[in-house]
Symmetry: C2
Subunit: 343 residues, 2 copies
Amino acid sequence: MSALVDELLAGKHSALARVITKIENRSPGYREIISDLHRHTGHADVVGITGSPGAGKSTLVDKVAAEYRDRGLTVGVIAIDPSSPFSGGAVLGDRIRMASNAGDMDVFFRSMSARGSLGGLSTATTDAVTALDAFGKDVIIVETVGAGQNEVDIVRTADTVAVLVPPGSGDDVQMLKAGILEIADVFVVNKADLDGADRTVQQLREMLQGRGGTAGHHGGMGLERPGGDGDAGDDGDAWDPVIVETVANRGEGVDAFIEALAEHSDYLDRTGQREAQERERFAAEIRTLLREDANRLLSRELVQRGGIEQYVDAVVARETDPYTVVDDVLTPLRDCLDADHPR
Amino acid sequence: MSALVDELLAGKHSALARVITKIENRSPGYREIISDLHRHTGHADVVGITGSPGAGKSTLVDKVAAEYRDRGLTVGVIAIDPSSPFSGGAVLGDRIRMASNAGDMDVFFRSMSARGSLGGLSTATTDAVTALDAFGKDVIIVETVGAGQNEVDIVRTADTVAVLVPPGSGDDVQMLKAGILEIADVFVVNKADLDGADRTVQQLREMLQGRGGTAGHHGGMGLERPGGDGDAGDDGDAWDPVIVETVANRGEGVDAFIEALAEHSDYLDRTGQREAQERERFAAEIRTLLREDANRLLSRELVQRGGIEQYVDAVVARETDPYTVVDDVLTPLRDCLDADHPR
């Protein structure tokens, strides 16, 4: 095990930061580091928070992190911007500085960007969560912008998914239907003091009822669970998404949000869903890594064979065709695997 | 070589239809058929036509096919709807019947749908074009809806790409910027007799000028190339997209559209771009097939090893981790390839 891993496990934030940089850059040795760290994971609560730009994600995340900190928990935040090729940029830089200046490194902020492929970014997020979990952070927040497929993949690295909805955005509620609705455990209507917030809450509730859910929510600030029909989470094994209203910049509703997250966490433990989700995530990760590595292996094999151009030449000359080329390249692999599994 | 291939090469439309059905369903033996057919390809002009629903694609395609037919050319049309799980549905069924009843099988219509994965659909399109080309069709039209990444991939199987823009849709012109603009060789403003058509043409022209092009176009119906600045295609090796106005249901502008397609085809031959594009397509096809086949091989390998669940068990128990699992599965392959390439 490397000295870097030892330092990370010993609680050095500088080692944690260096490991995440290696993960982000896919530096040599990062895979061995993640392999070494994996056995130390499984203790953190991982919360994914997503929402459109301007919904107030970073303000809410800052307040939530501070509140967890006040409760004596350690927190790690990974902010991911799939659309930016830069990391540690100005916005997040400020937040890092803020935390660092206070000497409060128990809230560890870190940004990651889309340097590699976007598929790679969701793998990198998983690896960064592994590092923070092994480090011993109690709560890990994965923050990402938007609601596309890439963001869905990223936010799926979390046990609990919260989606921020800006008020007065009937259209945005419609947009949510495309992918995010299915994975949201908690909806947060932030800036709930603005006009249109009530209508947004109403629209969310109708949307959830439309799919058979009975979202717990009341008209005022924060979260309330009426004893009866709104009692989400106890209805068999199903979790009914919760709607929370917050005014993050004034800190209002933050406690209620944390309560909703805690309820979902309890639900995951009570129903065995936490392990079920973990198994799904690991299976998906194995498949993704297999695909990525096999593609790399095949690219190398093409180079070893003199490059793809000679094959293209032959295909253009109609001496061979793409299917025959692919069979030609893959037959040694197929034979090799068959030799390992005699029939 | 199979009897089916012989029949197709002998010009039997029933064999062509059966081959495309095999391609669509990925029936056993379809790969060998494509391999056999490949050497007979390279003679057709392949035109891709895309545009939003209601832009008038099918009407235009019907008129264009009929006009080619009148000029003594044989035509094949493949219509692809990535959003539909059905093929040969009602709409296209009518068109097939229309052509069949007339006994005019030199215009061969066929629809394909998204039965498999969408990546698979673009491979299937390539294979269907191979079948039509080997059959001896002079012109092959690939018609697809929309402007998403999948449609871009599908339409890229063509030598020349035409994009239909409905008039009066300033928003739609904006939407085009996402991916389709870059691959359009010809823009068709169909229903050019409607209000807003002039404005749409103007917007397209401004958009093209914004990227440095000098689209050939005049204000009236059809296509005109002013001798000077609009002389697209002769400006070094670059092709400046052409804008054509049509009223397809009255047949207006169809000749001008065919002229624009012919000019682009000449340009491809004159500049060597046709072969360059063909090489790019073959390279992309080889890479795609390699990826698809390798994934299938690995899925089979996981099953051979007793399924992914045992690995997930071990990862959950922290006895191993995803990276180690993947190395474990891929090491035999890596060793095998290395044995073939001693250093």
